[in-house]
Structures are given as structure tokens and as C-alpha cells.
Amino acid sequence: MVEVTIRVNGQDRALDIPPQVSLLDALRERLGLTGPKKGCDQGACGACTVLADGERINSCLALAVQYDGREITTIEGVDDPLQAAFVRNDGFQCGYCTPGQICSALGMLAEHKDGAPSAVTEPDAEPGELTEEEIRERMSGNLCRCGAYNGIVRAIQEVAEPETEEVSS
């Protein structure tokens, strides 16, 4: 057993856990935070996406003991206009992948703002507008079997646009 303290959604949470417990299982089964979902437990679907010190990670592929002293944000700790944009644009159907999509989108917007390129970014591209193609590429680690992709992209565009203007001005 290993003792760790993880700061989750702004609160220090102490855990005494076997080292093989994933961050996802620790959140869902030991801290009662069931917002992050388990879709595959293999890092293939993105439903478990949370923010670790602001960066998006697949919490099913992370060991909880690695996050001692780190700051984790789950959907329960998110309060962002993106959530309302998802509702307005019908960016979900069953809702199971949604917490992961939203956390991933927040991490992705921050990455883009920091100038991180993606596979579809041209080498000489100026940092600026987040095109639809860029969003789709950068969000491809989050599967939605109901097929709400169009709505998700529109929701992200809606909240991203004000930020892009800020960057370009």
C-alpha cells in the first residue's frame, strides 16, 4: 500500500492504495468521482480524460501513485462556458463520453493557445485560428459512438472563437 495525497478539484484527498490502482479507478471507486468514465481501460476511447495540472491525460493509463501532490481536475470540478455550449449544440447523446470530451477540449484549447502543433498543422503556419480540421484532428482521441461529433466541434468553435480573436489582436 502507498500513501499519496492528490489535490482533486481543489481539495486535498489522501489515499492509501495498492500501487497498481489506476488514477481512474482511484477517482471512481475510492473518491466517488464517477464523472470520468471507463470506456475501455486501455487508453483507446478517451472517456476517462481528466486534467492533470491543466494538461489532458487518459486517467486509465495513469497510476494514482504517480500523482502524489499533483492537481487533478475532473468534470465535477469544471465550470466552463463549454458545458453550456455542448448542450446548445447537442454535442452528446447518451452522455457517457461527454465528461471526457469536455475535459479533453479544455486541455486541447490550452495546448493550442500555447502554440502546440498537431498532425494537420502546416510547418510554417502562424499560430492563430483554430480551424475545424484542427479541432477534429486534436479531438480524435475521444470517441463518441453516438456520433455527436458535429455538435462537439461546433460547441468547441463557439467557445474558442473569442480566444482566437484575443490571440490574433
Binding site: P18, Q20, V21, D25, R28, E29, G32, L33, T34, G35, P36, K37, K38, G39, C40, D41, Q42, G43, A44, C45, A47, T74, I75, E76, V78, Q83, A84, F86, V87, R88, D90, F92, Q93, C94, G95, Y96, C97, T98, P99, I102, E132, I135, R136, E137, M139, S140, G141, N142, L143, C144, R145, C146, G147, A148, Y149, N150, G151, I152, V153
Partner: protein, 736 residues
């Protein structure tokens, strides 16, 4: 209906989902997310052979893991009753996925069948111990290779509601004599539903009373089935499923994980949660059958169809399965003078196949609609023109009238939106850099039934309305659309209506399948609201309320706290009456052919060197009657199209033909479409109500996927000149 139209504002409006906040803030609780004191975790151990017996099972090492409560095998499991025989008299029997009575026998019927369940205090202990259960087998010879089973597959027996074949005139003679003909063999691979929520059950016994949180598409039949298997009255079982993380048919039957969670909870005397691993979903929840299809079309030189032959072979497991009505759309789409339709299925030692989104039409339309495109090419005719030339006035096979059919209008509108007239018909004639660009069309077709639902409504003096019905929500927007319907039927704002659902303690609803839930529940919501209005009107008269008073004003004036009304009942008598009503409805509905239809337009870009295929544009126009909520209906139709694009280009469940084991049981190796694969999908509808349906609505859950794979394959042919008849259209099939 006219009154509703006059009064209504909510029906037809793009209302946001009522559960949107819960789903975007993480408060929506799915079936693996309910906390219970003393909750234990169960993990399934799967068979590694496809047929034979368990020779010995050693649980000592697994039991020694700290935290393990019990390793349950066929040697120590509590009793469970065998699955009932399927019967049309008791429809709950059809949710039985397999005849195997898990952990009650040492017989193995498929690779992956559960052979043990480990229950522990934590999920990590259960997982670790499950890997240590040591099973040895006496394998028997198994029959698992689909290709080897195709030649000897027998004809499928149909029933009154799902036809399996058909014959008109002498199609084979007409084909032989036809001026122009095409004949080809098409294949589709096995597919899996892959709802992102894996099947999960939390089971809690309290004496002989049971509470089950389960990801189910059919609460009522599920409850009856579970009660029967565990020998308790149905009234003792409560099924709670307000949120189901996607189903697509995969959660319509009772699969082993559910039964084993309930069994394990009984064995350890504690609440038990059993969540299948993703691999466990593949290995214990059946997917779609593979198919081999033969389609032959004969026509005059002008394109009038003289012969239509469609023959299919599917497979089922030896212990159960669905062979899908693969020739279904071929009965209804074209006015061919002579027709021959035939369905066969082979039984193999694999897990039972199950229904997956538009069973039958999804894969059947791939073959038929590809063949029609091939005929258009042979005739040198536009594929839409060929379809319109053969568009029937009445059902071509049985001569029944169509309840509603506006496929012509759908094609005309789709062609306009997509810009079809600009198309050059010559294959491989459009290039954009290294991309070969092509376009294709195909028809969508999905038949619709109406079941019966029990609903109650309460209109309160504070202006609130409560609609109660144990229907399911797995992304369709069920509560949202029924609130819209009730609001208009009662003449109240939609915000004042709350819908309770997803709980067997509520009045029983049919399963969410066959695209029938919304219409079936809507029929009862309209009926129950009419009853409530009648009560309100007589109350208004008695109390002398002014004409045109709102329900709230009437109740205030009368000094009555609320009025209630009910449709159907959950008593034994009420259930029988409900079933009779449904049967009457189904028989009445057999007088005509009722279906949702649509026209798909697809543009693909194929890399001329690598064969990489991208869908770059999509337009679909549907005839789905009246649309209650354009936002949620649009999403469902898009979702179907996207699943169809996956089916066309990437998805495939790979069974090892020697062992029957699924070789790609994971989302890393079974490729469902991702964000990058999906362009903006332009979806619209004609909007004309179907006269045989409540409010004129036709279910939209399944029609979207039908025809999609053919539209993609036809576009790929137009782009490259290569006709791919074997799905999925992967690049190895396109490289020069």
C-alpha cells in the same frame, strides 16, 4: 391532432435536452456509479476454448489474494433457472440472449463464455485474482469458420412480424431473359456495437427482493426475465436505468454479465457491481452477424426492373442469436416485376449474434443499393433516375399500400442540396491533386412498428406536469421529446413538464429498439393527456372557470390540488390487456407498409497512390414523418450515418476462423469513426406527417445507418472505377 397543432409550440422546436446539465457536469449516474455500503466487485473469467467441457477448475491461488470474497464456478454457484423458450405469448422471453445457463454447467459453447466469476472487496483485487483462476478443458471439435458454413446454411424460419423471404413471379426466368443484368456477391463482416459505456450491473439483494442498476434498453422485459431466472416474483425486482451509455441493440438482450452480477450478489450476500472489460463486452455480448449476399437485377434496356433476386446467408450461435432480416428492404424498395428473396443462416460455436442498429437493412441495403448502382452503370443511366423509374406506387411484393412514402421528394431535395446535377457520370473523372473525387447515392429504408406503453400524467395546481413512464434513455432524448409532446397536448409550457423514466417502479414501457419507443410512448402520452384534459374540462365546468383557462387556473378555481390520468396498467390483467392491444395494433398495421426512408449523398476523396479514403461531404434527406425535436432527431440521424461510415470504411470484428476467438477485441484495433473521420453531415427531412402514426412521427434511430455503406461504396466506385463488394473498404482493396 388538429387541436394539438393549433395549441402546440413545443412539438417541432429544437428544445435543448432536459438531461443536458446532468450529462455535461458529471452528475448523470450510469449503472456502475451507484454507491452501496459493502459493495463488492466482480470480474468474469472467460473460456479459452470454443466448444467442450471444463475438466477442472483450480481456484486456490485466486482465493488467496487478499480481499477476495469468493470465486464462483459451476461447482459452487447458487442455482439459476434455465433461460425460457422464446414465445410470442410472453414477449419477455425474447430478451434471452442465449440458452446457456452460466455457471450451472461445465459445458462450453463459445470462446469467451464465462466459466467463473471472482468477487472481491476491490476491483483491483478481483482483477488480479481472475487472472489466477486455472481452468483446464476437454475441448471438442468446433465449427467456427463462417466461410466454411455458408454453403450448407439452411433457410431461416420467419414469424408473423419479421418476414424472411418472398417470391413474386419467376424471377430466375425473368433474369435469364433480361436485356440488361447485373449479378454479384457482396459480403459484410461481423460488427460490434461498441457503446462507449461497457455493460455494467450493480445488483443488491434484500432477502428475496432485488434492486438492479443495469445498462438495459428494455427495463420491463429485463425485469420479467431476471425474476424468472432467480425464482422471485417480478414485483420483487426493481430495475433502475435512467442513463444508459449507448445501446444500438447491444443492450437489448440479457447477456451473461447481468445474470452473473445478480448471481454473485446472492452468493456473497453483498451488493455486487460487475462491469465488463472492453474485451469482456466483445466476448460475452453478441455483435452483428457477418453476411454473404447474392444480388441479381434484370432490366429492360430502358431500366425497368424485370427481376430482383436477393439471397443472404448469416450466422447465429448454437445457443441463440439473430440472423437479421437481411432482404427486408429488397421487399419494398423497387417495383420489380419478378422477385425472389431468400435468407439462410448457419449455426456455429460462437457467441450468439445479436441485433445491431437496423438489423437486416443496415447490411442488406449495402448489397441491394450497390447492385442498383452497378445496374445504373451498365445502363449508362443516372442512379437517381434509375431509382425513380422503378419507384413503386404500392408495395411491390404484396401490393399493400404504403402508409407514407416520399422517397422521390427526398431525392429531389437531396440532389438540390448536394449539387448532384454538376456530377460528371464518368468514373475516375474528377481529380483534386492526388485525390480522386467521387460521389454516390443510396436509399435508406427502415420499417416501423408500434408497441403499447403505460403512462400516467399528473397536472398540479402549481402549474407543474409530471409524466411517468418506464421508458429508456440512451441518447435519443426520450424525456425531452415526450415533455414536448405532453406540453402541447395539455397546452402548457414545455418547461413545466417533468418526465420520470428509466425505473421499473414506473408504468411499463416497451423496449427501446426497432426505432419504436418514441412513437409507442407518444401514442400513450397523447391518450393520457386527452384524459387529463377531459377531467380538467369537467372540473372547469363545475367550478365555473372562464373558457380558455389554463390547467393551473382551472385547478385553482376548483380548489383541487391536481388531476391524474393513466393509460394501461401494470396489474396482471392490465399486462395481458396491454399485450392484446399491442398485438391488435401490429395486426392492423400489417394492412400497409410503414417505413422511414431517405436519400443519402456521399462525396469521397481517395488517395490515388495509397488508397486512403476520406468522406469529404455528406447530405441526407429523410422521410421520417413529423420531427418532434430537430435538434435530437438530427443528432440521431447523424449518429446512424456516422456508424454507417464506420461500417463502410473501417469497422470489422475479426474472428479467428480456427478457434472462434475474436482477435481485435478492443477499441484500439476495432476502428470506430473518430472526429477526424467525420465532416459536417448535412441532414434534413421532408417533415410531412405519417397518417398512421401518433403525431405523424416515424422513429429516427435506425433509418440513418441504412444505405450508408452503399452510398460510400458507390462514391468510391465513381472516384476510382473500382467496385468494392466486400466491406470494409480498406485501402488494400483500393491500391493500384
Amino acid at each position: 391532432m388538429t387541436a394539438v397543432e393549433q395549441r402546440g409550440k413545443a412539438v417541432g422546436a429544437p428544445v435543448d435536452r432536459v438531461d443536458g446539465v446532468a450529462k455535461t457536469t458529471g452528475t448523470a449516474q450510469f449503472s456502475a456509479e451507484h454507491a452501496y455500503p459493502g459493495l463488492a466487485y466482480a470480474v468474469v473469467v472467460h473460456s479459452s476454448i470454443s466448444r467442450g467441457q471444463i475438466a477442472a477448475i483450480d481456484t486456490a491461488e485466486a482465493s488467496a489474494i487478499p480481499g477476495v470474497l469468493k470465486v464462483i464456478t459451476h461447482e459452487n454457484a447458487p442455482p439459476m433457472k434455465p433461460a425460457p423458450k422464446q414465445s410470442m405469448v410472453n414477449l419477455s422471453t425474447i430478451v434471452s440472449a442465449s440458452s446457456v445457463n452460466y455457471l450451472q454447467t461445465n459445458e462450453i459453447h463459445w470462446d469467451g463464455q464465462p466459466v467463473a466469476v471472482v468477487v472481491a472487496q476491490t476491483s483491483d483485487a478481483a482483477k488480479e485474482a481472475a487472472a489466477l483462476v486455472d481452468v483446464s478443458y476437454r475441448p471438442a471439435e468446433s465449427f467456427v469458420d463462417f466461410a466454411a458454413g455458408v454453403p450448407s446454411a439452411p433457410l431461416v424460419k420467419g414469424n408473423a412480424f419479421i418476414p424472411t423471404g418472398g417470391k413474386k413471379g419467376d424471377a430466375e426466368a425473368a433474369l435469364a431473359a433480361a436485356a440488361v443484368k447485373v449479378e454479384a456477391r457482396y459480403t459484410t463482416p461481423p460488427y460490434n456495437h461498441n457503446a462507449i459505456e461497457p455493460h455494467s450491473t450493480t445488483a443488491v439483494w434484500d432477502g428475496d427482493r432485488l434492486t438492479v442498476h443495469d445498462a438495459t434498453q428494455g427495463i420491463d422485459w429485463f425485469r420479467t426475465h431476471i425474476a424468472m431466472r432467480f425464482g422471485v416474483p417480478a414485483a420483487n425486482v426493481r430495475v433502475i436505468a435512467p442513463y444508459v451509455g449507448g445501446g444500438f441493440g447491444g443492450k437489448g438482450f440479457v447477456w451473461p454479465g447481468t445474470l452473473l452480477a445478480v448471481l454473485a450478489a446472492r452468493a456473497v450476500g453483498r451488493p455486487v457491481r460487475l462491469t465488463l472489460t472492453r474485451e469482456g463486452v466483445y466476448r460475452t455480448v453478441g455483435g452483428r452477424t457477418p453476411s454473404v449476399q447474392q444480388v441479381a437485377l434484370g432490366s429492360t434496356v430502358d431500366g425497368k426492373l424485370t427481376a430482383l433476386v436477393h439471397k443472404s446467408v448469416a450466422r447465429v450461435g448454437r445457443t441463440g442469436g439473430q440472423s437479421e432480416p437481411i432482404t427486408s428492404q429488397s421487399r419494398h424498395l423497387y417495383a420489380a416485376e419478378n422477385m425472389l428473396l431468400e435468407q439462410r443462416a448457419v449455426e456455429q460455436d460462437i457467441l450468439p449474434t445479436s441485433s445491431m442498429r437496423a438489423p437486416g437493412e443496415s447490411i442488406g441495403s449495402f448489397a441491394l443499393e450497390s447492385a442498383v448502382d452497378e445496374l445504373a452503370v451498365s445502363l449508362g443511366m443516372d442512379p437517381i433516375e434509375l431509382r425513380m423509374l422503378n419507384e413503386p406506387e404500392r408495395d411491390p411484393l404484396e401490393g399493400k399500400p404504403f402508409a407514407h412514402r416520399m422517397l422521390r421528394e427526398a431525392y429531389a431535395e437531396g440532389a438540390r442540396r448536394f449539387g448532384w446535377s454538376a456530377r460528371s457520370p464518368e468514373p475516375r473523372s474528377t481529380k483534386d491533386g492526388r485525390w480522386l473525387v467521387g460521389t454516390g447515392v443510396a436509399s435508406a429504408f427502415h420499417p416501423l412498428m408500434l408497441f403499447s406503453a403505460n403512462v400516467t400524467v399528473r397536472v398540479s395546481a402549481d402549474g407543474s406536469v409530471l409524466v411517468r413512464c418506464a421508458m429508456q434513455e440512451m441518447g435519443m432524448g426520450s424525456a425531452t421529446v415526450q415533455a414536448q409532446i405532453a406540453a402541447d397536448a395539455l397546452g402548457v409550457p414545455v418547461e413545466s413538464v417533468r418526465v420520470e423514466y428509466g425505473d421499473s417502479a414506473l408504468p411499463a414501457a416497451p423496449l427501446a429498439g426497432g426505432s419504436l419507443q418514441t412513437a409507442s410512448v407518444a401514442a400513450s402520452v397523447l391518450e393520457v393527456c386527452a384524459k387529463a384534459r377531459a377531467s380538467l374540462e369537467s372540473l372547469a365546468k363545475k367550478a365555473g372557470a372562464a373558457t380558455g383557462s389554463s390547467p393551473q387556473e382551472v385547478l385553482a378555481k376548483a380548489g383541487v390540488p391536481f388531476v391524474e390520468a393513466a393509460v394501461g396498467s401494470d396489474t396482471r390483467f392490465g399486462k395481458v390487456a396491454g399485450q392484446l392491444k399491442m398485438m391488435r395494433r401490429l395486426l392492423r398495421d400489417r394492412r400497409y407498409v410503414r417505413a422511414a426512408t431517405g436519400a443519402h449523398f456521399c462525396e469521397v476523396r481517395v488517395d490515388q497512390d495509397t488508397g486512403e479514403t476520406r468522406v469529404s461531404r455528406w447530405t441526407s434527406v429523410f422521410d421520417v414523418g413529423r420531427v418532434i425535436n430537430p435538434k435530437t432527431a438530427g443528432s440521431q440521424l447523424r449518429g446512424g450515418i456516422i456508424m454507417g461510415i464506420g461500417m463502410a470504411l473501417a469497422e470489422e470484428t475479426l474472428f479467428d476462423p480456427r478457434t472462434g476467438r475474436i482477435m481485435n477485441a478492443g477499441l484500439g484495433e476495432y476502428h470506430v469513426p473518430v472526429h477526424a473521420d467525420i465532416p459536417p453531415i448535412d441532414v434534413s427531412w421532408i417533415g410531412d406527417p405519417d397518417p398512421t402514426m401518433p403525431l405523424g412521427l416515424l422513429g429516427v434511430g435506425e433509418v440513418g445507418i441504412t444505405g450508408v455503406a452503399a452510398a460510400v461504396a458507390n462514391a468510391v466506385f465513381h472516384a476510382t472505377g473500382k467496385r468494392v463488394r466486400d466491406l470494409p473498404i480498406t485501402l488494400d482493396k483500393l491500391v493500384p
